[in-house]
Symmetry: C2
Subunit: 219 residues, 2 copies
């Protein structure tokens, strides 16, 4: 069944970036519609986007098909959907324990790091009088330290073995964010090696934040 | 293949609670080993548990089998593993869009609410001089409001249609947490109705925080 795919995203939203990698990796053509997270108080808070996602977040993926339109939110749910509908090339290993490891490393980033350093949370911290950069550095560092220890047990060329998986899809945008917050990545040699291997792949290159039409270089 | 299953958890850790529901729903016998998150500076930070999970969190699920031992972390990855290995009774719908909806609602809780109100984050907020109860109420309220809007579109007897799914598994412990932080749940009639339907099922009753051997009533 053919689908017309639209991705509502933001260039350096790491959750949007994950979905871009997934779409590119599976060679699924899509239209990219930027939702600017800072402009005009945040376009994600405006009525048009709230209808797409009441959580007022990106990404949102819309698939228009002959018999129905499917609207998807939450990057991990979107990646699982892509994997089930377009299984090749895969973003999960075959072996059940390796699949669980891949999902666990992805979730360590998705639920263990990213939510603690996203825009809304940092804005709220500022209002509460806390130092939001210290906060982000603390939680990114804590998460990456654990990720490095786990990856040292599971990684080959990529985070779990020698094939790309959803764990790598989550890693790459998170390391970009870590650098934005001046987190020292020296100790994370496995993560940096895997990132380097990912960066050589076309799908990761095309999905990169800086390559998107809404990228604001130097911001 | 038969497995000896051990769950390292904590009675009111909502991520541990989710895994208990999953195990009970699929009628998988398991040994429950409490990891006390407050005692002695937090047992999750001690060496024995750091070896199980360098992220220093619960749950950890260990499956000992004839030919190998599998150790799993991250509640969503664990639930997906259980679903793939023991598909009946299912915790995901059959239809691809409904599966994505179920995972999205689960992730809204798992990455959109729970990480912002867990113990480590509230401790860090206190250190940063912010009011951690206000913070928790803000983010729980914001998440539940979005969840209610989405659930109003997808719910039948449960959050997605008329069968239990991982979305319900995540909802129930989150509502318990919401009450701990005095979040007003009056506006969330769909969520409360689904919670009531879940509470009538044996699996949810047996997995409840207050029924666990490490529960501290009145704390």
């Amino acid at each position: 069944m053919s689908s017309t795919i639209t991705l509502y995203g933001y260039w350096r939203s790491s959750a949007s970036w994950r979905v871009r990698i997934g779409l590119e990796y599976k060679k699924l053509p899509y239209e990219y519609v930027p939702v600017h997270l800072n402009r005009g108080g945040g376009e994600q808070r405006q009525a048009a986007h709230r209808l797409r996602n009441p959580m007022q977040q990106v990404p949102v993926l819309e698939l228009v098909e002959k018999d129905r339109t499917v609207r998807l939110i939450q990057s991990m749910a979107i990646l699982e959907y892509l994997e089930e509908r377009w299984p090749a090339p895969p973003l999960l290993p075959v072996d059940s324990a390796a699949r669980a490891a891949s999902r666990a490393l992805a979730e360590l980033v998705n639920s263990g790091i990213q939510p603690l350093q996203n825009l809304t949370v940092l804005e709220q911290l500022k209002r509460a009088g806390a130092d939001e950069k210290d906060w982000a550095r603390h939680f990114i560092g804590r998460g990456l330290e654990a990720l490095e220890m786990l990856a040292a047990q599971t990684a080959g060329r990529f985070l779990v073995g020698d094939e790309v998986s959803i764990a790598d899809v989550c890693l790459v945008p998170q390391l970009y964010n870590a650098r934005r917050f001046d987190v020292d990545l020296d100790a994370y040699s496995t993560l940096r090696r895997v990132e380097e291997n990912c960066s050589k792949l076309d799908a990761f290159a095309r999905a990169h934040a800086n390559r998107q039409p809404d990228a604001q270089h130097g911001s």
